[in-house]
């Protein structure tokens, strides 16, 4: 499913890209990201009063000998970052319009895989989660074997069905518990036909020193309603069927879509998250860069 987008993605161009988050990472292992922990780093972080048990190697002997103060020098510890990819696999993500090269889920999977590759190459941890019942979640992992598992899971993901409010609550609760401070959550969804509480639930993944980037994935046909003449439109996650004259309904549709997107954008931004829209007609590499920029500007 992801093959067409995969072929279009210039993986070599992604090599110099790194995950950079304004918020401090709270990793368990040493990594390239600034950690809230002070310790055996190389970048000086400041002084603090000596307490019993401190490593005497960091005791500032100059201050002790000159001023009689017992202070220890602290350094920022480089640590790894936790990146969680959350993909919407409800039925609406299976849509592929006349001008798209694939379904929205395929596009999201390629962009997600690229982000995982970037993160894993930087020594970060990556986990995979799905909104819906048609994906196999992956726990935190590092290294290229994890990338292989992620790619496999993405390839086997199928869009279908819908997600209930209860199921979404369970998912968000679980993600909240397992996301360490400084973790980055990237949600790929079209934000269509999700439960009414979805904005509130997903918005909760932002804050508490966690970064959330919401990527609205839409098909070009969904953006401008290109149909001509009378059409009967059927929603994929409900029984809704609409008979309409596309040219006449286009302006109203575009206004309604803009309003819908603004609601989600405003909701996420209000919670400190980043929101961006991606069209499946775009270059996946460009979308990856925009997501990385979003990650850089996200969080505290």
């Amino acid at each position: 499913m992801t093959e067409r987008f995969d072929q279009e993605l210039d993986w070599g161009a992604l090599a110099p890209l790194r995950l950079r988050a304004r918020s401090a990472a709270e990793g368990l292992w040493a990594g390239p990201h600034r950690s809230l922990r002070r310790g055996a780093g190389v970048e000086f972080a400041g002084y603090r009063a000596y307490t019993q048990g401190d490593d005497l190697r960091f005791l500032d002997r100059h201050a002790l000998m000159r001023h009689g103060l017992r202070v220890v020098r602290e350094f920022e510890t480089d640590t790894d970052r936790s990146v969680r990819l959350v993909l919407d696999v409800t039925a609406s993500m299976s849509f592929a319009g006349s001008r798209a090269r694939g379904a929205k889920l395929a596009f999201a999977a390629v962009v997600g895989a690229a982000l995982a590759w970037i993160a894993l190459r930087g020594g970060d941890r990556v986990a995979l989660e799905f909104i819906g019942d048609h994906g196999l979640p992956l726990p935190w992992g590092t290294g290229m074997p994890t990338f292989e598992r992620i790619v496999s899971a993405l390839e086997h993901a199928r869009a279908g069905g819908s997600v209930s409010p209860e199921r979404l609550t369970q998912l968000v609760t679980r993600l909240g518990r397992s996301s360490p401070a400084g973790s980055i959550t990237v949600v790929f969804s079209d934000f269509l036909d999700l439960p009414a509480s979805a904005l509130e639930e997903l918005g909760a993944l932002s804050g508490r020193q966690r970064a959330l980037v919401a990527v609205e994935v839409l098909d070009p046909d969904e953006i401008d309603l290109p149909f001509k003449g009378p059409v009967r439109l059927r929603a994929l996650e409900s029984d809704l069927v609409v008979d309409t004259d596309a040219p006449r309904a286009r302006a109203d549709y575009e206004a309604a879509l803009a309003e819908h997107t603004a609601k989600w954008r405003d909701g996420f931004v209000a919670r400190g998250a980043r929101f961006l829209r991606a069209s499946t007609g775009e270059d996946p590499g460009a979308v990856v860069r925009r997501v990385l920029e979003g990650i850089s500007g996200a969080g505290a």
């Binding site: 149909f227 001509k228 009967r232 929603a235 994929l236 309409t244 309904a249 109203d252 819908h260």
Partner: protein
């Protein structure tokens, strides 16, 4: 209709399928998945309306295609109402179209075209179904039957000829036209023959023969009421009128009016009965010429409801020189020649002669001078007779044994030149019937003549002499010679029963009748029936009739002739002055009602099944065009297909 035709036509019932599909689809647009459907505003009414309009053209095309396929499957077995010529083996056809242009074909049912127009249209449709290589002949059945177009493969010429044909006031000679048509097939050997008759059959029955006639428009024989004025002639202070009605109903309540310069001066109610009737109307002294007649009321034929009144005329003058003792009958009475002329009941004025007049002026009221066994002519008589003939008269002599016993200085000129001998007990028995074909069926009776003698002429000495009949041994029997505007006829046997039974045979009566006819035509008839040929010899008159100038026709044997087809007054201008002639109608043409076409002439019974029409090629082209049109429509609409642009 056999099973195959029924099955093929049943396919046409499938025409309802696109209709059913259309109704099933109507109002339901193409359904497309669209996740943000909830954000789209429904505009249902407009959708249904536009879909309905958009599908109409395609629906029509598909329905037409299915119907075309059904007919294609049934053709050529399907029976179409369009007239066409059937082709048995698919080869070329020899087609003879007999088109009746007689007066009765002018009749028109209320609100419909006349019989002639319908017949001409039918002929045009038949010509449309001919192909290159077919030969077409067009014969006209107005009396006398004639050839409008000899058999030709030039179909464009046939169409032009047909287009120029017009109805006439002639009587009907359908049998003659059919005979002419059959003879026209002689040049079309190897082709399938089609004899098409387009007539109302208001005529004696058509003789049977091969090929049998095909009557594609039997509806022309529909009986239509008509009452008409056949002829009208001024006789002193009255007008003698011949009326003819098809039946009593046609005559009921109608009035005959005499008009003087358009003003009614007398009238007469018609007796309600069919057939021919002669009535007389008194002409008031104050009535001014020209006079005309009018029948009020309506019938199917309006052209015969008015007629001009012919001026006073005298009968055809015939001068007869016959010896009572030699040429008379044993039972007494007038000479046989005079009795025959009287028996023919012609409008003839007889002038018995004792001698041939010395002055031509004495013959100025006569059109025919008939000499029976003359004993030679003196110089004065010869001069008078020659002058008479040169002015257009007909002089005929039945030359017998007295020719040898003529007086000194007397000759038989202008009847015979050179030696004239009376041959006793000739070896030849009877006349050569084949050479007497122009005399009709009665000529056969002259083939059995057993004369005790005959006159031998030296025909070679006279310039312009033409032998028109011979004895069985080839000797001249009847000789004609043009002289001035007139004609001299010499017959080599007298009427005397002592010499032969010539005068007792039907052929003799036919010969006298022929001479009277010739004299009448040469002299010029003041009144004649439409279709009668006027013979002018070397004269070149200018004739103006009801429809303008009348064309003169050059005839090798009769000189210049003209045949008026329409009733009315004709003005002739010759070197001798002006002359008025009146053309009347044949009463029989008005009273003869249409009879049913010959049995089996509609389609079966050996007649070509002309109604079966093979339109496979045309249908196949039409289907191809329909399919191409549908493809074009689809190509044009590919961008407009619901769902994508």
């Amino acid at each position: 209709m056999n099973f195959l035709v029924a099955a093929a036509l049943a396919v046409g019932a499938l025409v309802v399928l696109p209709l059913v599909a259309h109704f099933l689809r109507r109002g339901r647009a193409a359904e497309l998945p669209f996740p943000p459907a909830a954000l789209v505003k429904a505009t249902q009414t407009s959708t249904r309306r536009e879909r309905h309009l958009e599908d109409r053209a395609l629906f029509s095309l598909r329905a037409l295609t299915i119907v075309g396929l059904a007919v294609l499957g049934a053709t050529p077995l399907v029976r179409c109402s369009r007239l066409s010529l059937a082709r048995g083996a698919g080869g070329s056809l020899a087609v003879a179209i007999v088109l009746d242009d007689s007066l009765s074909m002018r009749a028109a049912p209320k609100g419909k075209p006349s019989r002639f127009e319908r017949a001409r249209d039918a002929a045009a449709r038949l010509l449309d179904s001919t192909r290159e290589g077919d030969s077409v002949a067009i014969l006209l059945a107005g009396a006398p039957a004639r050839v409008a177009l000899a058999a030709t493969t030039d179909l464009a010429l046939a169409r032009r000829t047909l287009k120029e044909l017009a109805p006439s006031d002639r009587a009907t000679d359908l049998a003659g036209a059919v005979s002419l048509a059959r003879s026209s097939f002689a040049s079309g050997a190897g082709r399938e023959r089609r004899l098409v008759v387009l007539s109302d059959f208001a005529a004696p029955a058509v003789p049977a023969g091969d090929p049998a006639p095909w009557v594609p428009l039997p509806a022309l024989a529909e009986r239509l009421p008509d009452c008409g004025i056949a002829s009208a002639e001024r006789r002193g202070t009255s007008v003698a009128v011949t009326l003819a009605c098809t039946n009593a109903e046609a005559a009921r309540g109608r009035t005959l009016e005499l008009l003087a310069k358009g003003t009614r001066v007398a009238k007469l109610g018609l007796e309600a009965r069919g057939g021919v009737a002669s009535v007389s109307l008194a002409v008031p002294p104050s009535a001014a010429s020209p006079l005309s007649l009018r029948l009020d009321g309506e019938d199917a034929l309006t052209e015969d409801d008015t007629a001009p009144v012919a001026p006073d005329t005298v009968g055809l003058g015939v001068a007869v020189l016959a010896d009572q003792t030699e040429s008379g009958a044993v039972t007494g009475g007038a000479p046989l020649v005079e009795q025959v002329i009287g028996a023919l009941e012609r409008d003839v004025t007889l002038h018995p002669l004792t001698v041939v007049p010395d002055q031509a002026s004495e013959l100025e009221h006569d059109a025919l001078v008939l000499l029976d066994d003359p004993a030679g002519l003196g110089p004065e008589a010869r001069e008078a007779l020659t002058t008479f003939v040169e002015r257009g008269g007909l002089a005929a002599a039945l030359v017998g044994p007295r020719a040898e016993a003529r007086r000194i200085g007397a000759t038989l000129e202008p009847f015979a030149f050179g030696t004239v001998r009376w041959q006793l007990a000739p070896a030849a028995h009877g006349a050569n019937v084949a050479s007497l074909g122009w005399l009709g069926a009665e000529a056969r009776s002259l083939g059995e003549l057993k004369p005790q003698g005959r006159t031998l002429l030296d025909a070679g000495h006279a310039p312009g002499t033409r032998v028109t009949a011979t004895w069985s041994d080839g000797a001249p029997f009847i000789v004609d010679r043009e002289l001035g505007r007139g004609l001299v006829t010499t017959i080599t046997l007298p009427s005397s029963v002592e010499v032969s039974d010539f005068a007792l045979r039907p052929g003799f009566v036919a010969l006298i009748d022929h001479l009277l006819d010739t004299a009448r035509r040469r002299r010029g008839l003041t009144t004649s029936v439409a279709g009668t040929t006027w013979v002018f010899g070397s004269e070149r008159p200018v004739i103006v009739g009801p429809d303008g100038p009348l064309r003169l026709v050059e005839s090798p044997d009769r000189g210049r002739t003209a045949t008026p087809s329409l009733r009315g007054s004709y003005r002739l201008t010759t070197e001798r002055g002006e002359e008025q002639r009146t053309v009347t109608l044949d009463p029989q043409e008005l009273t003869l009602e249409p009879s049913p076409p010959p049995a089996g002439a509609r389609n079966a019974g050996g007649a070509p099944a002309g109604q079966l029409l093979d339109v496979s090629a045309e249908l196949a082209y039409a289907l191809l065009a329909l399919l191409a049109l549908e493809l074009l429509l689809r190509a044009v609409r590919v961008d407009a297909r619901p769902g994508f642009r």
